[in-house]
């Protein structure tokens, strides 16, 4: 292994987990996410000289993001139809009527929240994952997604509003169950 390989192992390899999680949230599929991370890692190796002052994690996530979107454009173009912020709202999954008793409600809540995030269109889903799971700043998210900071803010607000609504639906269902 040469110097570049060593640099790759030090800088990039620690963030492969974040790369996978991000690609997995965008593709909904372990296998596709693995393929994407492998391609993105090779690109990262090629562009490694370009990584200077920047932090490695957001830098890698930017490469993963571009790799994922090219993949989505080829394989799932229907998901990427451009929407304006005032377009129709995505379908929020409703809780099924026969959820188990209170002890399992928290688990059911977590599952429904994850389904609600999965149901967000990719442009909203990626800002939520980058902000809430990767804890990145607006500036970094804007850089990764290639959008202005103002768009990061409006997408984040919209995504959280939708998730908040779906949580309320879930809680109402849980309350009904508790009262039963």
């Amino acid at each position: 292994m040469d110097e570049r390989g060593r640099r790759f192992e030090q800088l990039v390899v620690p963030h492969l987990g974040a790369a996978f999680n991000f690609a997995r949230w965008l593709t909904h599929n372990d296998h596709d996410a693995q393929d994407i991370v492998q391609d993105a890692a090779l690109r990262a190796l090629r562009f490694l000289d370009g990584l200077r002052g920047e932090e490695a994690r957001p830098w890698l996530l930017g490469i993963v993001r571009n790799t994922t979107w090219s993949w989505l454009r080829t394989n799932r173009p229907s998901e990427l139809v451009a929407r304006d912020d005032d377009d129709e709202e995505p379908q929020i999954p409703a809780p099924s009527s026969d959820e188990p008793e209170t002890s399992a409600i928290r688990r059911a809540e977590a599952r429904l929240l994850n389904e609600a995030i999965s149901a967000l269109p990719p442009p909203l889903r990626e800002v939520i994952v980058l902000r809430e799971l990767e804890d990145l700043a607006y500036r970094q998210i804007a850089h990764i997604a290639g959008i202005p900071i103002g768009t990061v803010m409006s997408r984040l607000a919209r995504a959280r509003r939708l998730l908040s609504q779906s949580v309320k639906v879930i809680e109402a269902a849980a309350d009904r169950q508790g009262a039963r």
Partner: protein, 246 residues
């Protein structure tokens, strides 16, 4: 609520307002119950997402796949022989990863011995209330203390701004080798971070047992294992913070 105020609420919660702007906004919130209830609602959903959204664990073979492909691309200056050696090494690494990584995960029901060791060590420290050999919230005290006693020097970042208080450090022995244990605290939860040098790149992973979580990762030449009864997402946040403070 105006659109601007809605966006400002998010930016305030995300720590993205400048200091003066934040103070100004807090003053307005004190007088505006609609803003306050908006903030409470946002806080609730944010908390929910951070604790309940799934962090998808990468399959353990991913590390081996990536490192072996990278080694093929970067054969080094010594030519074919090294190329073959590294390929064999990558194969061996893949075998090690395949053998070591799956039992780390709790689905398999089995524990890699190391998981049990670090967990036991954490529990012993808890039972004896002996968390630290050197007490200090000052990383400039802890780091030299550790490097004077060990052949390596882990980074000891100050993460108190992020809610992880540095308590100190202790020394321990794992597998007949001395290891550094950094001790941090979040609310009432203690976190032991075991650090030692010289292990190959293995897949990060998490494990869970009896309400304790273990998160491991590799950075530079050092292996890190964090153990705590903190919830998994927060422990992972902690791991990420350590990783980004080299």
């Amino acid at each position: 609520m105006t659109r601007e105020d809605e966006l400002r609420l998010h930016a305030y919660l995300d720590g993205e307002l400048g200091a003066t702007e934040a103070v100004e906004f807090e003053r307005r919130m004190a007088e505006d119950s609609e803003l306050r209830s908006g903030l409470a609602e946002l806080r609730a959903i944010g908390e929910r997402i951070r604790t309940q959204a799934r962090y998808h664990e990468a399959p353990s073979q991913l590390w081996a796949q990536v490192t072996s492909r990278v080694r093929r691309e970067t054969p080094g200056r010594r030519g074919r022989l090294v190329w073959w050696t590294s390929l064999v090494a990558a194969g061996a690494l893949a075998a090690v990863v395949a053998w070591v990584a799956p039992p780390l995960l709790h689905q398999s029901g089995q524990w890699e011995p190391r998981v049990k060791e670090v967990l036991d060590d954490h529990l012993r420290a808890q039972l004896a209330s002996h968390w630290i050999d050197v007490a200090s919230s000052d990383r400039h005290t802890v780091k030299p203390w550790l490097s004077a006693r060990l052949g390596f020097s882990p980074s000891v970042p100050d993460l108190s701004d992020q809610g992880f208080e540095l308590i100190g450090a202790r020394l321990d022995v794992l597998d007949a080798k001395p290891v550094a244990v950094l001790v941090y605290q979040r609310r009432q939860h203690m976190i032991s971070v075991f650090v030692w040098p010289g292990e190959p790149v293995v897949a990060p992973g998490t494990a869970e047992s009896r309400g304790y979580h273990v998160v491991r990762w590799v950075a530079g030449d050092l292996s890190y294992w964090a153990v705590s009864d903190l919830n998994e997402n927060e422990l992972r946040d902690f791991a990420r913070l350590l990783l980004s403070h080299p």
